[in-house]
Amino acid sequence: MARQKSLPSAPEASGHLADKTLIIDNGAHTLKAGLATHLDDTPPNLDSCHIIPNVIARSQRDKRTYIGPEYSDCLDFGELAYRRPVEKGFIVHWEAEKAVWERSFLHKDDAVVKCDPEETSLILTEAPNAPVALQRNADEMVFEEFGFAGYYRTIAPTLNAYAPSPFPSTATSVSGVPLECLLIIDVGHSHTTVTPLHHGRPFQHAIKRLEIGGKTLTNQMKLLISRTFDVHREDHIVSEIKEDVCFVSQDFNADLERVWRGGRYDPRAVDASLLVDYVLPDYETIKRGYARPHDPAVKLRDIMLGIGTEGGRREHVLTIANERFVVPELLFSPADIGMRQAGLAGMVLQSIDALPAGFRQAYLANILVVGGTSKLPGFVQRLESELRSLVDVDEVVRVARAEEPAKNVWLGGAGMAKSADLMRSLIVTRQEYAEHGDGWARRVFAGKARR
């Protein structure tokens, strides 16, 4: 039942492997993209991975539209309207995604990663458990619209097995050989997934997903800050506040007590070490907001007028107290907003319980945390202590975060691209796609068809 495949330009006669490989880790918040090649032996360099915002933003103030990498050129992030091509981790709006890809890779003068699709293979990642229609759309766009020479689509966590292991006792893997046992916790923008991998292959029935990610945390932060100052439309600024100021508390009850002002009849002294004054950017004098420790002597009204500040500039200051640790707490107890899902530790145990009993200790001892949101201070420590409290005393629990949590999937992809044998066995070339069709290609990527 293969559809007639009509590629716009004829594929090259030989199905040989292209020299260069473009690895795109297509996330909801950013693209991580870079070139790697199997012709030389140097280990993949993190510098060749570029982080490109995966967004099309329109500024009412500038009347300009920023696509992809142009987003960092924006001078005024206030009240930007966003359009994200990726929803819930999957590329849904291909019109926008094509614009971002073209701007990043195919632009004549200003491409972030210059490449010619006809001579490059592509490794594209997607989130686990994708609807089949979206997978078909991605395959068709890659081959028919962009015309890449070869293509491999996989779920993002599997590539982590090819990146160097952060555990000190595990030997560094040779490029092209995956690590044996890994439990990947990917704390991303749209959601958080837990994936156990065995030699780089996932246990499909044990992949679990929690619907809380960086986006949820940012929106919750908007709600909480809007109690004092309305920031519902300031997505970029609140995202920066979250990254600067939030942390994961190791003892939630105690920290909440420390910052409580007390009731009317029993006022308490607030522990000022946890409070933070955040200076909002106004994109005239202050280009980027920053945080400073709370100074109770400062009068907010004076500062707004520019009295008593450095250089006489007007500062709009927000005091952020318990939002700092209440917002990341959502990852560990989603019931706080009424979500009926178990927290991160509970989800990890659900995933491990779905595996054969003999693997339990192996996976508990090899938990790798990746994803931008895992850069929150105190995240790994809190996850480890929660897991330990839920698990038997004599079971070893090791949790480690990748050195570069955002780029680790790309690093794994680059490690995979270094090995020519591995690539030859995985990549589907344009010629094969034209012969056999998209259904066959999809089955090959899922491992159901022979090549």
């Binding site: 329109r58 614009a99 632009h107 200003d110 686990p128 030699h199 929106n219 989800m347 068809a449």
Partner: protein
């Protein structure tokens, strides 16, 4: 029985206690079924809410469960939290030069398939619902396995006239699809799988209290596990916390501390009198709840 002195002489009459003449008390024990309502509490109100609260027909679990309206409210809030900011004006993807192709051909798509993809305005929920509908219709997902062999129509021959057919395919369900070859990852990885069923360890005499390490699955079982088809999007959601978990914690709406007192009108929680005053003045939905 004569009690007390009488004024005139009567013969002495004394009633002797016998089994028959024992005076029956004016009460008797009876088994009554069902929970009896406390008549003091039931004053015949017609208001359902008051009757529910006072007469006590609800169990603890029912009292703690959210009403349907509250549940919808919670779900709407969660959906808002997980949504991208939708501005009033849609952001239009601009046509740019300097890209791969110039002109309308590049923007609209090079082949009919891509034209369709680029022009489609479907969101993720549409795709998800399409997939659920297809699974409900055909029982399988595209690309998961080969199509099951055509199911035979139910026979219209009356039972009495049906001949015994042992070798027909009507007798069994469509043959299960045999799993295909393993995915194209290096074969050397599979050789590293332990071929033995159980781990052999040296158990010393004084380690008798340790249980043996559970066996790793055999190679065939491992292959079956790793080749299993992926779950659908909704199946992969993590499960709710175990029933013994503590109830969800609620925080003060004004300051963020623990919520200790509930507003009677709108159900929001606040921590103290000061925060509650603020809530009543500015945030309470007493007009609309």
């Amino acid at each position: 029985m004569a009690t007390g002195p009488l004024r005139f002489r009567t013969p002495h009459i004394e009633e002797l206690p016998t089994t028959g003449s024992k005076q029956s008390p004016n009460y008797v024990y009876m088994a009554v079924s069902g929970q009896q309502e406390d008549p003091a509490k039931n004053w015949g109100t017609n208001n359902r809410k008051r009757a529910r609260a006072s007469v006590g027909k609800q169990t603890d679990q029912q009292r703690e469960a959210l009403s349907a309206r509250q549940q919808r409210e919670v779900e709407r809030r969660i959906k808002d939290l997980n949504s991208d900011y939708k501005p009033a004006l849609e952001v239009v993807v601009p046509k740019r030069d300097g890209g791969a192709g110039v002109g309308s051909a590049a923007k609209a798509g090079k082949t009919p398939n891509t034209k369709k993809i680029l022009a489609s305005g479907k969101t993720f929920t549409h795709h998800l619902e399409d997939e659920e509908a297809e699974i409900a219709r055909t029982g399988r997902r595209d690309g998961d396995a080969e199509a099951p062999p055509a199911t035979h129509r139910a026979s219209k021959t009356p039972l009495a006239r049906r001949k015994a057919r042992e070798d027909s395919s009507l007798s069994g369900s469509p043959a299960p699809v045999t799993p295909m070859a393993p995915p194209p990852l290096p074969r050397s990885a599979q050789a590293l799988l332990p071929s033995s069923n159980a781990m052999e360890i040296d158990v010393e005499d004084d380690d008798d209290e340790y249980d043996s390490i559970p066996a790793l699955p055999s190679e065939a079982e491992m292959e079956a596990l790793l080749n299993a088809p992926p779950l659908t999007y909704n199946q992969a959601r993590s499960a709710p916390p175990p029933p013994g978990a503590p109830p969800p914690r609620r925080f003060c709406e004004t300051c963020g501390y623990w919520g200790r007192v509930k507003c009677m009108k709108c159900g929001a929680m606040t921590c103290s009198v000061a925060c509650k005053d603020d809530h009543d003045q500015f945030k309470c939905l007493k007009m609309y709840a």
